[in-house]
Structure formats: C-alpha cells, structure tokens
C-alpha cells in the first residue's frame, strides 16, 4: 500500500487547513531531526580534534620530561665526579640554576598530571611518586654538595630507573588511550555521517510522499467537486456530491453546493411545471381558437352563401318565389343569431374569467321563464327530429328572487346541448320548487357520457372528447358558463349519465339569495 493511500485512509476527514498544518509540521520535524544529527556530527569532530591536540601535548610533555631527567642526571653525575676530585664549592648562582632546573622538572610533572584523567590516574600517581622522590634526592645532593664531610650520595640508581620506567609506562598508557579514543571518535563520526545521509535521504522521501499524498487527497476532493458541478451543470439535477468523504472547507463547499443544487432543482422543477401548465393552457386556448374559428365559419357560410344566392337570383330576370325567398331570409337570420350567441358566449366566459360578470337580482316567475325558453328554442328540436316533454310542477311554483337573465341562459344552454347530442329522441325539461330552492332538470336520450367525460364536461375549453367539437359543434363553453352562473346565483349543477343512455343535468338555484 502506498503512503498516499495510508494518509488518505488515516485522515479521510481532515480539513484542507488541517492537512496543510500536518504537512508543514511533519516537514519541520524532519528538518529539526536533520539539524540535530548534523550538530551531533560536528560536535563529535570537535571532540576528536581536541583529543588529538591533548594527546600531542601530553606526548610532548612526556618527551620533554624524559629529556630533562636525563640531562639533570648527567649534570648530577658530572658534579658527583667533580666533588670527588676537587674541593671547589658550587657557586650560589650554580645552585640557584640547579634549583630552577628542578622546579621546571616539578612543573612539567605537574602539567602532565592535568592530561589523561581517570584512565591515567594510577600510572601518573606512580610516576609522580617516583619522580618526586628523585627530585627530592637531587635537591639533597645539591644541598649537601658545599658542606664539609663526605660527598652526599648522588642518588639511588633504583630511584632514577624507577622514575624512567614509570615515565615509559605512562607514555605507553597515553598512546594506548589516545588510540582508543581516536577509534571511538572515528566510529561516532562514521555513525553521524551515516545518520546524516540516511536522514537526509529519508527526509526527501517522506517529504515527497507527503507532498504526493497532499496533492492526491486534495485533488481527489476537488475532482469530486468538479464532477458534481459538471454533472449538475449538464442537467443531471438529482446528482449530489458525496460530502461524507470530505471534512472542513471542501466538505462545507460540497454541502453548500448540494444545498444549492436542491434549491435549484426545486426551482427548475417548479419552473418546468409552470411552463408545462402554461403550455397546456396555451394549447387549450389554441384548440379553443381553432374551434371558435370553425364555429364562426359554419353560420357565416350559411349567411354569406344564402345572401349571395339570393342576390344572384334577384339579378336573374326570372320570377322570384316569394315563399322560398322568405324562408331563405329566415335561414340567414337564424344563422346570424347563432353567430351572436356564440360571440356572447365567448364574451361571457371572458367576463367570468376576468371577474367582471355582474349579477342583478329581480323577482320573476320561473315557470313563465321556462315556458318562454322552451318555446323560443323549439326550432332546435326539429333539427335532429327530437320531441320535448315539459313537466313543470305549477302548484308549488312561486316567484323567486334571482338573476333572470342568467337562469334563462342556463336553461337555454342545457336545452340546446340536449338537442345537439340527441337524434330522434326525447328532451324532458322538469321543474319543481321547495321552500329553499328551484330545481330544474334537463334530460335527454342522446349519446351520453362516460364517468371520465362527466368529470371534465364543465371545464372551459373542454368537451367530452377532443373531437366532440368536430362531431357535434360547440366550443365547449356552454356548460362552463352554466356552472359559473349556477355558482354566482348561490346554487350548483350536477350530471348523471351513461354512454348511449342519455344525460341528465340537474340545476339547483336558491329561491332567495339571502
């Protein structure tokens, strides 16, 4: 497993700032270790250099001391021979010089004591004792030289030999210890050099690994972000960034982006719904306009056609059939009225939609109104060879307070619908009244409607089927207007129907609006 993977897995939730701190800290620690090892190495070199100087100084001192001892012994032996042969005393200056020489020897001996430390302690002590003894004997020799009597003893040969031997031992010991220390220091220097090299190389390796892990983990986070933005931007509105995999700033960014995505998604979906609604409303209006155009053209065809035809016939020199002429004019007038009704329907619905339709209450006789409407519409019955049954419960009919014009239009629309969708059948108009309301039913034996069609039949711009307008004419406005008028008068309308078994529309209107 690579270092980068380990770091990514160990610290999957570390923030970007945390990662940078960790990274910087690790590099600082590595740097400090390298510096420490390097300092240790230079200290060891320094030690080595000191030890070498010390060994050289000690060796010089030892050599000088040996030389001094030999010189002094030669002098003492010569003086001892002179004492035997002559009686010349030594001058004070000679004695003083000899004392100073011995002081120098004692001083060298003392200096030698400060080198070597504990390792040389025993050797030095023996050297010190024997040499001090030798010096003391030599001092006695000088002191006793000018005195009368036998010549003072020069020295004990053993003492000198002893001192010489001790000096050689110390010298050997010094050499041995110097070699030992040099070896130890060399080992240390080699070790620190190795540690420095290994530390430096491993520092570079670890730093590279950390940099790689840092780049990799940050890059992975940013790649997830980028992929999310790209996916969402290209229209995948449900895509969300896996925010669990990042902590800190990038996690926050992912979470914020996801929240924004959710809001945008909602807004876009809302907008799409609104647009779909608007499209569907537009489509309905276009369909409605096409139907209106069709419906306007049908009566206009009769009006223009008959008028042109009559004009042609009049311009001929032939005798005009007055009865035929009268009938043709009636057709033109009827078509013109149909056209007017259609235009009024469109205007009514427009008024209802914009809330400008007024209701004007008055007291009138509903029974008289119904009879009048049925009389006026009787020509419609003949078109499809239908018959009318008028069934008014006159005993219980009273005057009512409502909008006469609206009630008239309600019944007219229901009646003409019944005629339109029924062929060679029966139209039944019934009415009865109780304390509260007038109930009018218009029933036919026509094509009827399925339950689905019944649900939509009162919607504006809608007919039972898309092609109902084509088959039976009408703009799909009549029943929409009827329902709105019923609501305005404080009542309602309902329908009962089965396909091919006719339809029954029941209208209830309050007798008094209060």
């Amino acid at each position: 497993m690579r270092t980068a993977d380990v770091v990514t897995q160990l610290r999957p939730r570390l923030s970007l700032r945390g990662r940078l701190y960790l990274f910087s800290g690790a590099i600082l620690i590595l740097f400090a270790i390298n510096v420490a090892v390097s300092l240790w190495g230079s200290f060891a070199r320094n030690e080595s250099s000191l030890a070498y100087q010390e060994a050289v100084t000690a060796a010089q001192l030892t050599a000088e001391l040996e030389q001094n001892l030999q010189n002094k012994r030669q002098q003492v032996l010569v003086l001892a021979t002179l004492r035997e042969t002559t009686d010349d005393p030594l001058e004070d200056s000679q004695l003083g010089q000899a004392g100073a020489d011995l002081d120098i020897i004692a001083e060298r001996l003392r200096q030698l004591g400060s080198y070597g430390g504990a390792d040389l302690e025993a050797h030095y002590r023996r050297l010190h004792d024997s040499t001090t003894t030798l010096i003391a004997q030599w001092r006695q020799f000088y002191t006793g030289y000018n005195q009368a009597g036998p010549a003072p003893p020069v020295e004990d040969a053993r003492t000198y030999n002893n001192a010489q031997q001790r000096l050689q031992e110390l010298d050997q010991r010094q050499s041995f210890i110097a070699v030992q220390r040099a070896t130890a220091i060399d080992r240390t220097i080699t070790l620190t050099d190795q540690i420095t090299v290994v530390g430096f190389i491993s520092s570079i390796a670890i730093t590279l690994a950390l940099v790689f892990a840092m780049i990799r983990s940050t890059n992975a986070s940013l790649t997830r972000m980028k992929r999310g933005v790209e996916r969402f931007g290209s229209g995948d509105l449900t895509y969300r960034i896996d925010q669990q995999r990042d902590a800190g700033e990038i996690g926050d960014l992912a979470r914020t982006f996801n929240e924004m995505s959710t809001k945008l998604q909602a807004a876009i979906e809302e907008m799409n719904t609104a647009r779909a609604d608007a499209d569907s409303a537009n489509a309905a209006k276009s369909m409605f306009l096409a139907n209106v155009s069709h419906e306007l053209r049908t009566p206009l065809n009769a009006i223009i056609g008959y008028s042109e035809m009559l004009q042609d016939e009049l311009s001929d020199e032939t005798e005009v059939n007055r009865e035929q002429f009268h009938h043709d004019l009636a057709t033109i007038i009827l078509s013109g009225r149909q056209l007017l009704t259609l235009i009024n329907d469109i205007l009514d619905l427009s008024k209802i939609e914009t809330g400008k339709m007024q209701v004007s209450f008055e007291v009138f006789s509903p029974a008289a109104l119904l009879v009048q409407v049925c009389d006026a519409l009787s020509p419609l019955l003949t078109q499809n060879k239908n018959s009318l049954v008028l069934n008014i419960d006159k005993d219980n009919m009273r005057d009512m307070n409502s909008d006469r014009g609206k009630l008239q239009q309600i019944v007219t629309n229901l009646f003409s619908n019944a005629c339109k969708f029924t062929r060679e059948g029966e139209i039944t108009v019934s009415a009865f009244m109780d304390q509260q309301e007038l109930t009018v039913t218009v029933a036919d034996t026509g094509i009827g409607m399925t339950p689905t069609q019944q649900e939509r039949v009162f919607e504006a711009f809608t007919q039972a089927e898309a092609d109902t307008g084509l088959k039976y004419g009408g703009t799909g406005l009549g029943l929409a207007i009827v329902r709105e008028f019923c609501k305005m008068l404080g009542g309602g309308i309902e329908v009962e129907s089965k396909p091919n078994e006719g339809a029954l529309f029941r209208v209830r209107i309050p007798v008094d609006p209060t």
């Binding site: 096409a290 155009s293 069709h294 065809n301 009006i303 223009i304 056609g305 042109e308 084509l470 088959k471």
Partner: protein
C-alpha cells in the same frame, strides 16, 4: 385549356341549411347534384352513382370525411374520382391534413362560390 364542364357532383354535407344552399347554387351553375349526409353514405353513393367529382365536408357523423377519403382512395373502383375537401377548419394544418387523406383540393367555409367552381373545373380537367 380549362373548360367550364357541366357534370354530376356528389355533395357530402350533414348540415341541412348549408347542404340546401350549395345544392341550389351548384344547380344554378348548371351542374347536377346528388347528396349524402355522412361518410358511410358518401362511399355507398360513389360506388352506385359514379359522380364526376365529390365535395366533401370533413366533420361528418358515422364516418368522418378524412376516413371516407382514405377509404375511397384505397378502393380501385373509387380512387379515380377527385375529392375536394370543403370544411370550416381553415387552418393551414387542416389543409395539410385533408391533402394527406387524399383530397385533390381544399376549399374553406364560408364558401367563395366562384372560386369553388374554379376548383371543381380544375379537378375535372386534371382528371380528364
């Protein structure tokens, strides 16, 4: 050269007022007119009477004009008779739809009668 042929025309129209009006005007123009009130009847009359040209309303009960037109065009005995669509559906897509059903030409309501006579003559000439 287009000529004013007099011929036998089948008028298919369910609206009685408009049907009567067109019968009278076509007859005054010298044509003889037979009628049908729906698409099914129209096909039957075409087979029995062999009219020279058919004026067909498209919104018809029983079988609509588009269906009747397609059936006539796929019937070898009837396919040679030119059918002129005569409809209150005056949008451009309505014309396309009528021509796609096999109509030879397309006239809208309200009828421009002199233009309709020209369309009939053109259909007869194209056929002959």
């Amino acid at each position: 050269m287009m000529t004013e042929q007099k011929c036998r025309i089948l008028l298919v129209e369910d609206n009685e007022v408009n049907r009567n009006m067109l019968i009278r005007r076509l007859e005054r123009a010298g044509h003889s007119v037979i009628t049908a009130a729906d698409g099914e009847a129209a096909l039957k009359v075409m087979r029995e009477e062999h009219p020279a040209v058919v004026l067909m309303d498209m919104n018809l009960p029983v079988k609509d004009g588009w269906t009747a037109c397609r059936e006539a065009k796929s019937d070898p005995a009837l396919s040679h008779i030119p059918i002129i669509a005569l409809t209150a559906h005056a949008m451009e897509e309505d014309k396309v739809r009528a021509l796609a059903a096999g109509c030879a030409d397309f006239a809208t309501k309200p009828v421009d009668f002199p233009a309709l006579l020209n369309v009939i003559a053109a259909a007869l000439n194209a056929h002959s």
